[in-house]
């Protein structure tokens, strides 16, 4: 398998596993409360962290497939050359913004690590979470560069207006 395919499969698996864990954690928490009068301690904090990780694990995938919500109303009515320029310009901006997000999240991680900030109940340290989000944003930015290069070679299939089938 190509490394890109492998990475994409891995991220999909991680995001899917996290979603399933969120679902099961809720069910176990509810059952624990009613049957054993013992809710899962700090289920709420674990859910929060899993949600953040799901969101960012999906970011390279959504970016790579060009699935971010977009309005193509004006684009579609334009002559090809102008549309090509605007599409590439948008890809450049997306690349830069994702790189910027990675940098800001890295800064956040550094600050959280300096303070030793952790969740209130379970004491889960927050800096590693921020670093993970930063890394996933950085990967997304690299993916966006790859898309830009492909786009310049004219190798992209036309992007759908709303990308994913099952929003």
């Amino acid at each position: 398998m190509r490394p890109a395919t492998l990475a994409s499969a891995l991220l999909t698996a991680i995001a899917g596993a996290l979603l399933m864990a969120m679902m099961l954690l809720t069910v176990v928490d509810v059952i624990g409360r009613y049957v054993f009068s013992a809710p899962v301690p700090g289920a709420f904090e674990a859910t929060e962290i899993m949600l953040a990780l799901v969101v960012f694990a999906g970011l390279p995938l959504v970016t790579g497939r060009g699935e971010h919500v977009q309005v193509r109303l004006a684009l579609d009515g334009m002559p090809g050359g102008m549309r090509f320029v605007l599409e590439r310009a948008a890809e450049v901006l997306v690349t830069l913004l994702l790189a910027g997000a990675a940098w800001l999240l890295y800064q956040r991680g550094a600050a959280l690590s300096r303070y030793g900030d952790a969740t209130v109940l379970l004491g889960i340290p927050l800096a590693p979470v921020a670093f993970a989000l930063a890394a996933l944003s950085a990967v997304s930015s690299i993916v966006a560069v790859a898309r830009l290069v492909q786009g310049c070679r004219g190798a992209l299939s036309p992007t759908p207006e709303i990308p994913h089938d099952d929003i």
Binding site: F44, E45, V120
Partner: protein, 313 residues
């Protein structure tokens, strides 16, 4: 003519906004002869735990927050979260600010900002949905919503099963039985509209726990003010602001108690036997503060003694 913006994450009807921040802003305006005005932002620019960093970095000029939301940053402010400190927010807040100035300030826990004041809310009490709490055994095994900070440790020592949920969700978790009760100051019960869900209250003399608040200003903003304005703002901040905040909480607590009575809640004071039990179960909890103080080179024992003396117990 300077306008200072206040980052605000509470609704405009909350006592912190309408009775503390806005009147303080008016006091600043008056003290500076109108040279400095204070403007509260209409919508939040970040979550409650983010407020400290936002102000330090200059996202707004002034902000307030809860030390317990980022517990690892503020070890010394646990002094004001201890149980049995005072029945009055005003007394405790003034005492706390004085102790802060004398003992805690030198540890520089509020690094990179100008600290305007610290204060506490009123005494944290016990409220339940189904059964009244008459002794410590009644608390054991109960699922109670606890906000965080030292209150978690209090809950732990009393055998409470802590349920954590963001405060806007307390209505939901109490009304559908996710939690059996809640540890809250009297003000918060009507504020979160749970006076219609809760049936019983048990008030603990001095409070079962408390919460420590800060109000801060961006350092560059502060340094940019004239010496005259700085002096004027200092005059209405510190002990004066802590006193203002404490008075506001006491009034809000009184109003809260009245609303609870009107809603038909049965609120009683813990009897002597229960108070004794609580003191027994929570004995030594102040070590959390004293140890933290020692680690930061602060005389915790002396600070705690001063707090008790100033608070009148």
């Amino acid at each position: 003519q300077t306008t200072l913006t206040v980052s605000n994450w509470l609704p405009p009807s909350h006592p912190i906004v309408k009775d503390i921040v806005i009147p303080w802003g008016e006091a600043v305006k008056e003290a500076t002869d109108g040279r400095v005005t204070v403007e509260v932002m209409a919508a939040p620019i970040g979550k409650p735990p983010a407020q400290y960093d936002l102000i330090r970095d200059g996202a707004a000029d002034i902000g307030y927050g809860v030390h317990g939301y980022t517990p690892n940053r503020f070890a010394l402010t646990t002094i004001a979260e201890l149980p049995f400190l005072s029945d009055s927010s005003e007394t405790l807040s003034v005492a706390y600010q004085k102790v802060y100035d004398k003992y805690l300030a030198k540890a520089n826990e509020h690094e990179g900002v100008k600290l305007l004041a610290v204060w506490t809310h009123g005494p944290g009490e016990i409220y339940t949905v189904k059964d009244p709490v008459k002794d410590v055994a009644d608390l054991s095994g109960k699922k109670m919503r606890v906000g965080g900070g030292l209150a978690n440790m209090v809950a732990d020592k009393l055998g409470i099963v802590p349920v954590s949920a963001p405060s806007p969700q307390v209505y939901e978790i109490l009304s559908n039985g996710v939690a059996d009760g809640i540890l809250f100051p009297p003000e918060s019960v009507p504020f979160f509209k749970i006076d219609t869900v809760l049936k019983y209250g048990t008030e603990v003399p001095g409070g079962l726990y408390n919460t420590s608040f800060f109000m801060i200003m961006n350092e560059d903003t502060w340094n940019g003010l004239s010496d005259e304005d700085k002096k004027a703002i200092d005059g209405v901040s510190g002990v004066a602001l802590a006193e203002r905040a404490g008075k506001a909480w006491d009034a809000a607590d009184a109003a809260g108690r009245k609303t609870m009575a009107e809603a038909g809640m049965t609120v009683t004071a813990a009897d002597e036997a229960m108070v004794e039990e609580l003191h027994g179960a929570l004995a030594g909890i102040e070590a959390v503060f004293i140890d933290a103080a020692a680690a930061k080179g602060v005389d915790g024992v002396a600070a705690l003694k001063m707090l008790h003396d100033e608070a009148g117990n």
